[in-house]
């Protein structure tokens, strides 16, 4: 089940792209160059990279608030312009939504990115419709929605899983269980700390995945996507992982927990060890990949910074298709 080394290295690069993107973004956010709020996906790179690896541009995913990385990855992979995700976060005219969406509302259907919704989890309902359309048209696409453990609290979780189940819709639920919803531990906010326990009653395959082991995550996403494309209906994956970002106001988790996840369970470090063990690649080779990616992100940041702000008058455009006259 071990991955071939090229794929593993590609995934390593993808994970670094996600991390470098978030680190660069965070730096700029702290400098005041990025408006609004910022939630980063650092620590969850393996989950995102595994999903991105298997979802085609003709599939779709609904990203959550920590998904800048997968958004950028999809944008880069399918259109070669990941910088437009960065520009969106800077609120620029060159962004994927011309600055109207920002961190919490970046979308680009041409790369399968169907847009975040800052009302956490509302797209658990929306994903049903995309999947239904594909089912009706007999297109073997996968409609994926990425939800945090906290987001599982929403009533739409039930409505969505139930409807996907009864209609056997091609939906991939990718639950990123990073242990907390803001400050609420998953075991305090839910009847079970294992989200699959809440999903199982709907009769779809429910699988827990180590979200920090890229090989495992990659394999499980492959299995899920294959099953869905084969017409077997919805599939639920719970990725056990951890986010490096604490609260806006600082770290709130026990020091040992922080150490464990950042040191022992860092998905990038773990992948590095694997690559080292399985190939002749040296630390220097991997460092070079990292440096390349970091460099690439800096050019994206420059692109974003140097992009024009949107034309203010555009603020009233596109409220209605066809304008106020509804043509």
């Amino acid at each position: 089940m071990a991955l071939d080394i090229e794929t593993l290295v590609d995934l390593y690069r993808d994970m670094w792209l996600i991390r470098a993107f978030e680190f660069g973004l965070e730096r700029e956010f702290k400098k005041g160059n990025v408006p609004g709020m910022l939630h980063t996906g650092v620590g969850q790179e393996a989950t995102q990279a595994a999903l991105a690896a298997h979802l085609k541009a003709t599939d779709c995913f609904f990203p959550d608030h920590r998904c800048h990385g997968i958004n950028a990855l999809a944008q880069e992979k399918h259109q070669g312009d990941g910088e437009r995700i960065m520009a969106e976060l800077f609120g620029r005219a060159t962004g994927v939504c011309s600055g109207k969406g920002g961190s919490l509302h970046s979308a680009n259907p041409r790369v399968g990115n169907f847009g975040d919704n800052a009302v956490e989890g509302s797209y658990m309902a929306t994903v049903l419709g995309v999947a239904l359309a594909w089912q009706m048209r007999k297109q073997p696409n996968v409609a994926c929605c990425i939800i945090g453990d906290g987001t599982v609290g929403r009533g739409e979780f039930h409505e969505s899983l139930n409807m996907a189940a009864i209609w056997k819709l091609p939906v991939l639920y990718a639950c990123v269980n990073n242990g907390y919803a803001i400050s609420m531990p998953v075991g305090k906010g839910h009847a079970s700390a294992d989200i699959v326990d809440l999903a199982r009653g709907y009769g779809m395959p429910c699988v827990q995945v180590d979200g920090n082991e890229i090989e495992l995550a990659y394999a499980e996403v492959a299995r899920a996507v294959d099953s869905i494309r084969a017409g077997n209906g919805p599939y639920f994956l719970e990725f056990k992982t951890w986010r490096w970002q604490g609260l806006f106001s600082g770290e709130f988790r026990p020091a040992e927990e922080v150490r464990y996840w950042k040191e022992d369970r860092d998905p990038i470090r773990l992948a590095r060890q694997k690559i080292g063990a399985q190939s002749s690649l040296q630390a220097a080779d991997l460092d070079r990949i990292e440096a390349e990616v970091v460099q690439q992100i800096e050019t994206w940041i420059d692109f974003a910074k140097n992009s024009p702000m949107p034309d203010p008058a555009k603020a009233t455009a596109d409220v209605y298709v066809g304008g106020e006259e509804l043509r």
């Binding site: 847009g115 009706m136 298709v321």
Partner: protein, 330 residues
Amino acid sequence: MSATTVRTRTFVQALNEALDISLARDPNVYLLGEDIAEMGGDFGVTRGLWAKYGAERVRDTPLSEAAIIGTAVGSAMVGLRPVAEIMFADFLGECYDQLVNNAAKMHYMFDGQFKASIVVRTACGGGFGGGPHHSQSVEGWFLNVPGMVIVAPATPADAKGLLLASIENDNPILFLEHKALYRLKGEVPEGHYTTPLRKAAIARPGKDVTVVATMKMVHEALAAASELEQEGIDVEVIDLRTIRPYDAETVLASVHKTGRAVVANEAPKLGGLAAELSATISEECFRALKAPVVRVAGLDAPIPFSLVLETYILPGKKQVVEGIRSVLRA
């Protein structure tokens, strides 16, 4: 409308024809909602369509209003044209987020990349002892929401033409069907035609006073106009038809002509459509107005069950007549 045959049909039959024609013309159109398939819907609007188009395109759902709207929106994102039924408008509270935060904003916030081309049909309005949760007028809930379109026919012909126009339009449309009108009969052209959105109709031309009304209140206003005609009062009745965004031009032109305006809407007065219309008329016809605008609207209360109470709350012909008299007096 072209010179096609015109027959007499009920409001329900007119709606049914519009759905039938849409399903036949456009493979992207499908219907979803609770008990709309074999059963044909609580009010029979979808009757016969399941048998004709099958369970894929006339689709029963569980009692999951948020998922119904979510499904509609998601399928619209990839080009389908769903027509969702929410059995009673009062239940729109269940899917308010889906409509207001997602459907209404999607085209805008994603910079035009998606269209939430959905129609949400729903039965609204009171008068039959339905009580607090089966009788509300909900246009006020969505009036302050940019991106939402609210359509509200008053006649069978418009019900059909506006529903066809709504299904063919690319915006998220809340399509209000007043329950008291379902059995109303009227002339309905055969075949396909559309009635333009965001275009009010002059239901009755007149010169002394303008009454702007919606849905059932159009008929109350027409009845009031007939009554007052005998006293030589010539009432112009405007049927707004689209509530958001609305045809201010037609309304204002009429009030500029008559100099007096009554706005008639079944919802509670405070903060409802009547307020919006009164404000816009007052601001834009300031010099032309000979008397303050009068709002004829529901009293400020939930809709009670007992008919004697409900009748007391809801406005009707009597209140429109009083409203007209008072703007003429002032």
